[in-house]
């Protein structure tokens, strides 16, 4: 047992810190710290800086343009990025489609798409969920019917995050109605400029529009855009679900949120004392700190396990459940910390001498409501419990 980083890992940590200190634009980190919305060009700028360093595609093998990091290195990189309030790497092309193409794509597909992901020429989004198939993905209904050298796609996708910035979408579509529902699904790449596609924003609970619906009406997609074999989509979907999870616990976000909360609670005065001097608040703060400290070790233990076995097991579901619980408690405490000052609508947040709270606290209530999604999207925590009950406990 040894909880400390090796000398190489410590040196790497220093390298990451130095890079962030030098290359992370101050206006971007300020936006992240205050919870302001990032534009497409904000994301593009940060991706380009990482790409120039060779640190953008953190999960790709070296041969495809990845840095060839160990899981611990990836963990260090993500933690440092969060501490520095770097924008998160937009995962759809880099953490999701990239590994799929590397594993299942043809050489042509790899050559066509991977460099464009790295360069920022393509912004991918995800077409998985449907209005009638959220957690129950196998019941999806969007059809792709073979017609000559094309598939003709009809149907509707939803919860497509940042689709408004994307020029391409990867989709799960039904190519066969036979057998078990899982067996008739394929994985298809679609150019969003193709006629027949409409993208509509979905306004979320707190008022923001980060997700979209995508409607497909007789959309013709070349058969060369099929990844893997026809009806192999379920296998690819499962691969993607377990391999995107380099940071499924969201630990960096939690560390960030905890530090902001702790620091604010020491500055905030209400009802005659500092917030942190209210023993009820201090107790909540301390309990979640303890849970977070434990989670850091749990995460490292499971990374070490994955390093041994080569692939994350059902344990990634444990990280998802506990990780989202901790993030949501932290968001909850940050909202509560504001008292009445949490009530202004995000777009009404007052500046200047009318400000109610420091800028980095102004989105606390909105973030709390928005992050209720964490335990729902990407496989709800109920689905994760079902998976664990079966795969880990044999129930």
């Amino acid at each position: 047992m040894d909880l400390t980083y090796s000398p190489e890992e410590r040196a790497f940590q220093v390298e990451v810190r130095t890079f962030l200190a030098e290359q992370l634009p101050a206006d971007l980190s300020e936006k992240v710290r205050t919870g302001a919305e990032l534009t497409k060009s904000d994301h593009d700028r940060w991706h380009a800086a990482l790409n120039a360093k060779g640190w953008l595609a953190t999960t790709w093998p070296r041969g495809f343009g990845g840095p060839g990091w160990t899981p611990v290195q990836r963990h260090i990189f993500e933690e440092e990025c969060c501490r520095a309030f770097a924008p998160r790497i937009v995962p759809f092309g880099l953490h999701m489609l990239g590994p799929v193409l590397i594993e299942f794509g043809t050489p042509d597909q790899q050559q066509a798409y991977l460099p464009r992901i790295l360069s920022g020429a393509d912004w991918w989004c995800q077409g998985y969920s449907e209005p009638g198939a959220g957690s129950d993905l196998a019941s999806l209904k969007t059809r792709a019917v073979r017609d000559g050298d094309s598939y003709v796609v009809n149907g509707q996708k939803t919860w497509t995050t940042l689709g408004q910035y994307a020029n391409r979408i990867f989709c799960l579509v039904r190519t066969s109605a036979e057998g078990k529902p899982q067996q008739g699904i394929s994985f298809l790449l679609v150019d969003l400029d193709t006629p027949g596609i409409e993208m509509r924003p979905i306004r979320l609970i707190e008022g923001g529009c980060e997700v979209n619906e995508v409607f497909f009406t007789d959309v013709r997609v070349p058969v060369t855009n099929l990844v893997g074999a026809e009806n192999q989509g379920w296998t690819i979907a499962k691969f993607l679900l377990t391999h995107e999870r380099t940071n499924i616990a969201g630990l960096g976000f939690s560390i960030q949120a905890f530090e902001q909360l702790r620091s604010f609670a020491r500055r905030r005065r209400a009802n005659g004392k500092r917030l942190v001097d209210d023993p009820l608040f201090a107790a909540r703060l301390s309990e979640i700190e303890i849970d977070l400290e434990a989670m850091k070790i749990t995460n490292l233990r499971m990374l070490a396990e994955a390093r041994k076995t080569g692939a994350p097991g059902p344990e990634s579901s444990m990280l998802k459940i506990k990780g989202t619980q901790i993030r949501q408690v932290l968001n909850d405490l940050a909202r509560r910390a504001l008292g009445p000052a949490a009530v202004p609508f995000p777009s009404e947040v007052l500046g200047g001498n009318a400000a109610l709270v420091p800028p980095d606290q102004a989105m606390n209530a909105a973030r709390y409501f928005n992050n209720r999604k964490l335990s729902i999207f990407g496989g709800s925590n109920e689905i994760q419990r079902n998976i664990l009950a079966k795969a880990k406990l044999g129930l």
Binding site: D136, P344, F345, L350
Partner: protein, 365 residues
């Protein structure tokens, strides 16, 4: 012992519920709740004409109600329909103006909109920490300081303000909204509030020793918020139950999954507990247990409303994350009620304080 509402209150609730169902569809509610002026002045007058404001004041003060159960009836009905109108500010003003012996007729008729400015940025909940001050100016009293998150403050024409006379005793002052600098804003769960900047603002003193009146008004406001939450929880529970019964996943209604069933049962039980403690608080208004039972209610309701809101979103699984689906707005209101007039921790401290007192402590009769 009797848990049946009186005929008058039953009728009031029915009339109000019918009006809200007809006039505040969720689309209209949302457009009123989230766009300026964050309330509907025409319907506000119609609500006044229905007697809703009169129900908040005692007959001796020109009203037709004013008891704990009157207030609970009104706010529970408002909560069930998620009505965004600034009734909380009106209720606080009714209690304060009545304590000061002022004429309530303009308020109760809906002619003039009042809000009560009590909380401050460093004194969000506890009036003992109020720092705003009044001083004698050339032409009478003037006020200095800032009042924060004044509910209904953006749409109010007159303000009742708590401030210290010459830095000493807490007193009440009436101010014309046009005489103060007011930054109004919409609230994340709908409706309006405002920052009120007082910088030599002319003010009329209406009550020189206002400590007890303020506590009483805040107690009544907290009771109203509890009742509003109970109403909103009832609607939320019904929405969720309907969803569980009709939404299908994996080939069956999701309400057939035992894990969800058990959580839904627990929610249902906790909503009944929230209703019970609100009844207890309503029944104790005007007694020497008023403040303590209100704090108990606000604490328990705060805990349960958050639980209901979070489960409402989680068990809907995605759809309740959207603005378009009404449940999301109920969830926001249920969570944000805890930020008004004392959160769960603030009120728990007040319940704790009696246990921690030297001597024999409170009797839990």
């Amino acid at each position: 012992m009797d848990f049946e509402p009186t005929e008058e209150r039953r009728l009031l609730a029915e009339t109000l519920a019918r009006f809200l169902a007809a006039e505040y569809s969720i689309e209209h509610r949302n457009s009123v709740a989230y766009s300026e002026p964050f309330h509907d002045p025409v319907k506000w007058r119609a609500l006044a004409d229905l007697g809703v404001l009169h129900a908040l004041a005692a007959p001796a003060d020109g009203g037709m109600g004013g008891a704990g159960f009157d207030i609970a009836t009104v706010f529970e009905t408002l909560g069930a329909a998620l009505c965004p109108e600034p009734f909380l500010g009106a209720l606080l003003s009714v209690r304060l103006l009545a304590a000061a012996g002022c004429d309530l007729a303009p308020l109760l008729s809906g002619q003039i909109r009042y809000a009560a400015a009590v909380g401050e940025t460093d004194a969000p909940y506890d009036p003992a920490e109020i720092g705003c001050e009044a001083h004698r100016g050339r032409n009478g009293w003037v006020l200095h300081g800032r009042k924060s998150v004044v509910y209904g403050g953006a749409s109010a024409e007159r303000l009742v303000i708590a401030a210290r006379a010459d830095g000493g005793a807490l007193a009440l002052w009436e101010v014309a909204a046009s005489d103060a600098r007011i930054s109004g804003y919409g609230m994340i769960d709908g409706g309006n509030a405002a920052e009120v900047f007082l910088d030599g603002t002319p003010a009329a003193m209406i009550l020189p020793e206002a400590g007890a009146a303020l506590q009483d008004a805040l107690d009544h406001g907290a009771l109203a918020l509890c009742a509003e939450a109970v109403g909103a929880m009832d609607t939320a529970q019904a929405m969720l139950l309907d969803y569980l019964q009709t939404r299908r996943q994996f080939g069956r209604p999701i309400g057939s999954f035992q894990a969800l069933q058990h959580r839904m049962v627990d929610l249902t039980i906790e909503i009944e507990q929230a209703r019970s403690i609100t009844i207890l608080a309503a029944g104790n208004m005007g007694t020497d247990r008023q403040t303590r039972t209100v704090s108990m209610a606000k604490n328990l309701v705060g805990r349960m409303a958050k639980l209901v809101a979070e489960e409402l979103i989680q068990m809907h699984g995605g759809i309740a994350m959207t603005w378009e689906y009404p449940a999301s707005h109920f969830a926001k209101r249920l969570v944000m009620i805890d930020h008004q007039l004392g959160d769960t921790d603030f009120h728990l401290h007040r319940v704790m304080a009696e246990h921690m007192r030297p001597g024999n402590g409170p009797s839990s009769g």
